[in-house]
């Protein structure tokens, strides 16, 4: 009985319990007023930044292609979700998930349509073509009638709650995490490591590139939907290149290819500017300095490719405790890998 949580069912139930537990703790903190109203509202941007960062990490970190138009997909999903919920009049708890699903589908469809031609290119060229598409999406939204043009959409129901954001974050993390760990994920990672070798080994690279791109765009759309129903307005000017760059900063700081890193840095980079309100002028200066510094001194990001796993951590702790109890033996390194 060396490892307590080695088997999959155990791990799934452990994760399910901890997810529910974390939710209960958050809700308890809000109910008892430990987190005040303002701090509770902060949880929502943290949530959609996590979704944006994790979804961008799928293409930038795991697929190894750098798209610079993530904000474009976010805006497409956001507008689709907002238009859906504005025209439908359903009960909130039905309307929002449906709107988010619409956001996912529309953004993913855009991702597929844009991704298929764009993914023929590599490296810098892919980055630039996605940037071009992102800008075109913004200009088109700016000029369309039903998106409200430059005025944007107003009066979208404020339906995004902490609970819905939490559910969406969990679903995103679960789907992208499971995708990465699966056979398909290994195929995606093999493209990052060496595309030519992957192709030579019989991996349909175009299919997997398009898959990663589509899934990534879809979740950006969900984040857009949450954003729209949180602010209750959609303004096309807030989805420019700067927004894409901000998401990229989160991903790069957390570590390209680490979901855990994206989550941590999304939380940190959303709270930091709020905590440093007095320094709000310096926020982006500090961001960009951080970005350059991280790239020069630790190009792998803060977490590298480290992934956090509750089961592994507990196993490690257990074996360490056991080692300490049996005394002598060895030093601190309880080998629970």
């Amino acid at each position: 009985m060396s490892a307590l949580f080695k088997s999959n069912p155990f791990r799934y139930s452990l994760n399910a319990v901890s997810v529910a537990g974390l939710y209960a703790v958050i809700m308890f903190l809000i109910e008892t007023g430990v987190l005040n109203r303002y701090q509770a509202l902060m949880l929502i941007p943290i949530g959609f930044n996590i979704i944006l960062a994790v979804s961008l990490n799928l293409t930038a970190g795991f697929l190894g292609q750098l798209p610079l138009g993530h904000a474009g997909f976010m805006s497409v999903g956001g507008y689709a979700a907002a238009l859906f919920s504005m025209s439908a009049s359903l009960p909130t708890n039905v309307e929002l998930p449906l709107a988010l699903a619409v956001g996912w589908i529309v953004a993913a469809a855009f991702g597929l349509v844009i991704g298929l031609p764009a993914l023929r290119l590599k490296g810098d060229y892919l980055a630039i073509i996605t940037l071009g598409f992102g800008e075109i999406i913004r200009v088109i939204i700016l000029n369309l009638k039903f998106t409200g043009g430059a005025y944007g959409l107003k009066g979208i129901g404020r339906q995004t709650t902490v609970t819905w954001v939490y559910i969406c974050v969990v679903i995103t993390l679960f789907i992208i995490g499971a995708l990465i760990k699966s056979r398909h994920g290994r195929a995606i990672i093999s493209i990052r490591e060496d595309e030519i070798a992957a192709e030579a080994s019989g991996i349909p690279t175009t299919y997997y590139k398009a898959l990663a791109f589509t899934v990534s765009a879809g979740f950006a759309g969900v984040a857009g939907g949450l954003y729209a129903h949180y602010l209750s307005i959609m303004d096309p000017s807030s989805f420019g290149f700067m927004r894409s760059a901000e998401i990229l900063v989160i991903v790069v700081l957390g570590g390209l290819g680490s979901i855990f890193g994206s989550v941590v840095s999304a939380i940190a980079l959303t709270i930091l500017p709020e905590a440093l309100r007095g320094f709000s002028d310096y926020r982006m200066v500090i961001y960009s300095l951080l970005l350059v510094a991280v790239m020069i001194f630790k190009p792998s990001g803060l977490c590298g490719r480290y992934e956090f796993s509750l089961g592994d951590t507990i196993d490690g702790l257990c074996s360490r405790i056991r080692g300490a109890l049996s005394g002598k033996g060895g030093g601190g390194d309880g080998g629970g890998s």
């Binding site: 075109i136 990229l248 970005l291 790239m295």
Partner: protein
Amino acid sequence: MTLLYLMINGLQIGSIYALVALGYSMVYGIVKLVNFAHGEIIMVGAYSMWYVMSRFSVPAWLAAALSVAICSVLGMFIEKIAYKPLRNSDRLSLLVTAIGVSLLLQNLAQLFFTANPRMFTNIFAGTVTIGERQFSNATTVTIAVSTIIMIGLTLLVKRTKIGKAMRAVSEDKETATLMGINVNNTISFTFALGSGLAAVAAVFYCCSYSQIQPTMGGMLGLKAFVAAVLGGIGSIPGAMIGGLCIGIAESLTKGYISSKLTDAVVFGILIVVLLIKPSGILGRRQNEKV
């Protein structure tokens, strides 16, 4: 007459794009980096010119020369600090660093000069009459000076020693080192040259649009980059042709379709070029080696 008018306006903005595109193209040719910070160099050029002129009331030519000097030094400095440590690492990290530098410059400008647009007085006031239309002096000076600069640059790259070194380094860094070329100095020179051209473009841009703000470099830089890709990135004559094409396309869109759609047309051109002929009009196709 409208067509001629639009074409000349297109040539004017196209010359500005071409000057900026040259910087992108030379830098890409030599270090294989899409220098996202290049657009911000234009902004720095514009602000330094405006600052020097409004604070110290120096003559315009001196201010322009100063801003070219400031931008050249800044370009070299950025290369030394941010890009040189990463020269042998992943292309992706280099690209992200360039985005970081671009964000940094933009936000520093916002910090120092606030986000409010500043008015810039046209230093080439007055008009000339060609045919039945009147054109501002800014237009004619921009086109004339850009043409001279481009001829000069072509001669520099083709005929001089440093030009030869630039071509050698972009061809193959290691072999160039073996031939006794100082690669670091050549790269620094390329960055200085490109940034200086961006400053010249900034001066012309300010004269015809008379408004500067910290974010002005973003869109201008992106469009110039599209021009560089259209002409074939890495190719100097390509950058000139690309710049002029983009300028004319933009001007015709403004005149005949809608001024709101110019950005969409420019990026549409980018996408079509990348999909049909990623090497651009004059670029060389690179075969993939396994």
